[in-house]
Each structure stands twice: as C-alpha cells, then as structure tokens.
C-alpha cells in the first residue's frame, strides 16, 4: 500500500521552530493564519505586523513579508502599510497587553477609520512575555504577579471586552470572538480568520478576530487544565460569537 501524507507543515510558515511554551495556543493560531493565507493564495501579497509580546518575533515564522512594530502600535503601522499597498492583505497579530492597554488608541481609531486591515487579537488574560502581570483582560479574582491577591474590581477595575467595545464602531464591519480549545473551535476560528481576510479584500472595512488563548506558564497550570480554564472561566466573561458582520456572506469560492 502506498503511504499517503495526511499532514504537512503549511508553506505559510517558515521552518523555524516555534519558541512558545508547551501548551501555549499561540502556535495553533499562527498555523491557522498561515494555512488560510496559503489556501486563499494570498501569501505573497500579504504583509503582517508583529506586536510586542511573546510573539514579537513571529516575523520569523510567517513566510510573508513582515514588519515588527512598537508595543501597541501595530494598527498604526498597518495603516501606513495598507495606505501604500491598498491591494495587499495587511494584518496585525496582537496580545491583550499590546492591543487593549498600551495600544488602545491605535486599535480604536484604526477600527473607527474602517481601515482595511485584519487584526488577530490574542486574548490570554495576562501579560505573557513579561512574566504574568495583570492585563486589561485579566478576570476578576485572577491571580497575577501584579494582582497577587486576585484582581479586585475595587482596586484594579474591570476586564475590557474588546470585541463588544469595538463592535460599537461603524468602521468595524466584522468582529468575532473564537477559541482554539478543541477541534470544533479550531475549525470555527479558521473560518473566522478567512472571513476577516475576505472582508478586507472586499474593501468592506476593519475586521478583527479575537482568539481566546492559553498561557499555562503564567497561569500556573498544565496544558490540559489551561484549555479547560479557557472553556470554563474565560468564556463566562468573554462569550464566543459574532459581534459585528454576521450578515456578511463569504462567497462560495472562499469557503
């Protein structure tokens, strides 16, 4: 019997091994974005923007042209790129510290301008790279290195639901929150990524996919319980779903 290759690394990724911790879902998300670019035939015309955070060097992983941005500024950098290459696909990949704290102004205004870029917002409820500080998305009660007694609403305020917030802006035409904790969720995440690129290519406006992600290292959990924590704890605060653009149909040839 002939051997059949059933899985292979996507050419959307370079062959450099990921440096992410065991059980970290950043790697899955990278693969989904890279596969989607390849399947849509846009790898050569895509330009990505890397954030500051654990994925600061994903310009080494994505096989398309990439620009590394200052902390939080990726949407402004992407705006500059897109205005020079309006027919290219431009995306940002950002964590919750990057996007929802230091880069709040940049993401809100890129969305409000209806900038024709796609943002992949990876929400792991913590600052990964700098070793587990509280993020704007940290849950009430969650222990972090800067909320050692658990985040208290009184002392540290409330989590920001970025998707719901951006969905109030007219320029943000497609906003969906997904997770990557199981096969079904991963399939849905990939569909959402594809739809975001589609919305951009159709020139409809700003698109964002928020992806709930794990940080077992800084949550102090093993990979399996980290996935459970996304499903059980994070999803209570951050329900999955389409917050904007559910009526937008992806054309059959894009499916």
């Amino acid at each position: 019997m002939m051997e059949e290759k059933v899985f292979t690394r996507t050419p959307g990724l370079t062959d450099k091994p990921f440096h992410y911790c065991p059980g970290c879902t950043h790697g899955i998300i990278h693969r989904l974005i890279a596969e989607t670019m390849c399947e849509m035939g846009i790898l050569e015309t895509s330009i990505g923007v890397s954030p500051v955070g654990c994925t600061y060097n994903n310009y080494e992983y994505f096989a398309c042209d990439m620009v590394q941005a200052a902390h939080g500024r990726a949407p402004a950098v992407a705006t500059g790129i897109k205005r020079v290459h309006p027919n290219h696909t431009v995306f940002t990949y950002q964590g919750d510290g990057d996007l929802a704290a230091i880069g709040t102004a940049e993401i809100v205004h890129a969305a409000a301008r209806g900038e024709k870029i796609s943002t992949f917002f990876v929400n792991n409820a913590i600052y990964g790279m700098t070793s587990g500080q509280m993020a704007p998305t940290t849950l009430i009660g969650q222990v972090t290195t800067t909320s050692p007694f658990g985040r208290s609403a009184d002392a540290q305020g409330y989590p920001i639901n970025v998707s719901e917030m951006l969905a109030t802006l007219q320029g943000a035409v497609y906003i969906e929150r997904v997770s990557v904790t199981g096969v079904k969720q991963i399939r849905q995440a990939k569909k959402a990524i594809r739809k975001a690129f589609y919305v951009q290519q159709a020139g409809l406006g700003f698109s964002m996919v928020e992806i709930l992600s794990t940080c077992p290292t800084n949550w102090g959990q093993d990979p399996v319980s980290a996935l459970q924590w996304v499903d059980e704890a994070m999803m209570k605060q951050y329900p999955l779903g389409v917050f904007r653009g559910s009526e937008i149909e992806v054309k059959p040839e894009w499916k």
Partner: protein
C-alpha cells in the same frame, strides 16, 4: 528657475514634499505648523496621494514607520509637544533603518509652552530624544526658499542613508510669506528599496522583514556598528554651513535658522562702528559643522565667538566643543517666543570687544 511666487513657509514645505515624490502624509494638528496639513488635505488628493489625520502624534509616526517600511517616501510634521510624542517612533525608525522626513516647526517650551517661535528643541533634535545610540540628520533652513530646497533634499538624504531626516524650523519660518522659486524638475534620487515590504514573489526573493529588535548581543552590536559606520560617512560627506564675512573678522557670530537672519543684519550695524563681524550659519545641525566654526574662529584677528539662539543656550555647547578653547565663546539668547533685537546683539558684541 521658474518665476517667483509668494508663499507661506508651511505651505512651501508641503509643496516641496509633493514635488519630491512624497505621496503619504500622516499628521496631527498643532500650531504653528497646521497649514502643512491643510495644504496636504487638498494637494494629496490632486496628486493621487494620501493624507491621514492620525489620532495622535504617536500614531502618526507609527504610520510613517509602516508606510516607509512599505517603500514609500513619507512625511510627518508637527511642533514641539507633538515631536516629544514622536520620539518613540524616531528610535524605532533608526533601529529599523527606515527613511522618513519629519518637520518640527518649533514653538516655545517646556511643557505646553507657547505658540511663538523658539529654538529650544535643538538638544532634542540633535542629541536624540528617544532611547538608544542613534542619530537623525537635522537641517536648519533660514528662509522660505531654503525650506523648499532643504525639504526636497531631506527626502534624498533619508533614502540615501535609510534614516530619519528632520527639518528644524520655527514658528517664524513656518508662518512668514516670502518669494520662492520652484525648479522645473526636482533632483530626486530614485533609489531602489529591495528591503521594503511590498509583497514578495517566491521566485524572486525571500520574504522581507523590518525590525528593530535583536535579542542576541552580537546581533544588536552589529546593528549598532552598522549605524555608527553610516553616521561616520554622513559626518564626512553631508556637513553643510554658510560663512558670511568671516575673513579677518574681530568677532564670529554663530547662529542658525531665523536667528541667523537677525545676526546677518548685525554685520552691517557693527561695520558702521568699525567692528568686523563674521557669521557662521550651520545648515546641518547634525552633523554639526565643526570645521567651519573652527576655520572661522582660528584666525589671529578673531577675539571671540558669540552664539546667538532662541533658547537658553543649546547649540553653544557644540560651538564650544568645536572651538575647544581656541577662543572664548559667549552666548546670547532669548526664550518664550521673544527675539533678540539687533541692538541687543550689537551691545553684546561691543561689550566683548570693548568698543
């Protein structure tokens, strides 16, 4: 040269940029330079370009970073408080070796300061306000005609060296109207940008990355060495200055920009009293024209050097470094938007020479 037209300094900057092939402008309003943005809002549409009003100067400079990475000739303009916000981007632009042109039409500081002309940003412009070992080329025009010519030149320098080039003007230059003669055609260096992110063809090149981060010590040192080598070449090849009436002078005055125009008039006032005053006007503030200052100061006739600035004494430090004890160096400055009068400067010269 075409016939001369009367134009406001700020508008000339904008027109010069368009003529230099700039089709991407990102800015945030601030007095006394917002006319640049007003002009661009219309002119870029005509020229098939893009003017984006950013949400802040931080965003504007990061849009510049992106557009430059994408291979475009790109401009942002602001005034002092806005330039402070752009410092983050300046440092990243230096680290990523991207060409960009930035205009600072300086107003009085510190803080919100005032909207009147000043030169208090000399340190920030020439010594770097962002983090790390980097330099920007800094050009200091003194007339509207020169605003035009140096703005065009700034784009060529930025592309040639893949670095940020700043025009350091002030509220007077930006706001005043003077005749300007535009060339039929601009001297544009059309340099290839094989490093830019433009989308790639797998058959033609690898994917490009633009970055300023180097985690390994040796890699980061290699970047720094490359930058320093480049800066050394610029120090050798791009220094510009003007000397007026310096031969056999009694006193050499050093001044840049608007302030140099007042000093130029003092030459005549002093001559009427039998005092020979020469003027050294740095046109590049970085690289600083040390040799021009030294050649003027190191004449047996020269008793002293006087630096005049619209600040509390900033360029005078570079003048002192250049003169290096050869002659005494004096300073006269006004701040807050006030201008030294010709008489004030003349009195200072008279007190130095004792006549």
């Amino acid at each position: 040269m075409n016939k001369r037209v009367l134009m406001k300094g700020n508008e000339v900057i904008a027109e010069a940029a368009v003529r230099a092939g700039c089709r991407h402008y990102f800015g945030y309003p601030i007095t006394p330079q917002t006319e640049i943005m007003h002009y661009m809002a219309r002119r870029m549409v005509e020229a098939g370009g893009v003017m984006v009003q950013a949400e802040s100067e931080v965003a504007a400079i990061n849009m510049v970073y992106g557009a430059s990475a994408a291979g475009a000739r790109v401009l942002t303009t602001s005034s002092s408080p806005g330039i402070s916000l752009k410092q983050e981007g300046f440092s990243y632009i230096a680290g990523a070796e991207l060409p960009a042109v930035v205009v600072n039409i300086v107003r009085g500081g510190p803080g919100l300061g005032g909207i009147l002309p000043a030169q208090g940003d000399y340190f920030q412009a020439t010594k770097g306000g962002g983090h790390g070992d980097y330099r920007n080329i800094v050009l200091a025009p003194a007339s509207v005609q020169e605003l035009y010519e140096l703005t065009v030149e700034a784009f060529n320098l930025a592309d040639r060296y893949r670095m940020l080039t700043m025009i350091l003007g002030d509220g007077t230059l930006g706001q005043m109207m003077e005749p300007v003669a535009f060339r039929e055609e601009e001297p544009i260096d059309s340099s290839d940008k094989p490093w830019a992110v433009t989308g790639f063809k797998a058959a033609e090149r690898e994917h490009n990355t633009i970055q300023s981060i180097y985690i390994e010590a040796d890699d980061l040192e290699a970047l720094n060495n490359r930058l320093q080598d480049k800066y050394q070449i610029i120090r050798q090849q791009e220094v510009r200055s003007e000397q007026v009436n310096c031969e056999n002078a009694d006193v050499i005055v050093a001044a840049f920009g608007t302030c140099s125009r007042i000093c130029r008039n003092v030459i005549r006032d002093a001559a009427a009293l039998g005092i020979h005053v020469g003027l050294v006007r740095p046109i590049t503030l970085w690289p600083f024209p040390d040799a021009a200052v030294v050649s003027a100061a190191d004449q047996s006739s020269v008793q002293a050097v006087l630096t005049v600035e619209l600040n509390a004494g900033q360029m005078v430090e570079d003048v002192r470094l250049a003169v290096n004890g050869l002659k005494p160096v004096y300073f006269h400055g006004r701040t807050g938007g006030n201008m030294p009068t010709q008489k004030e400067i003349l009195d200072k010269i008279r007190s130095i020479v004792g006549r």
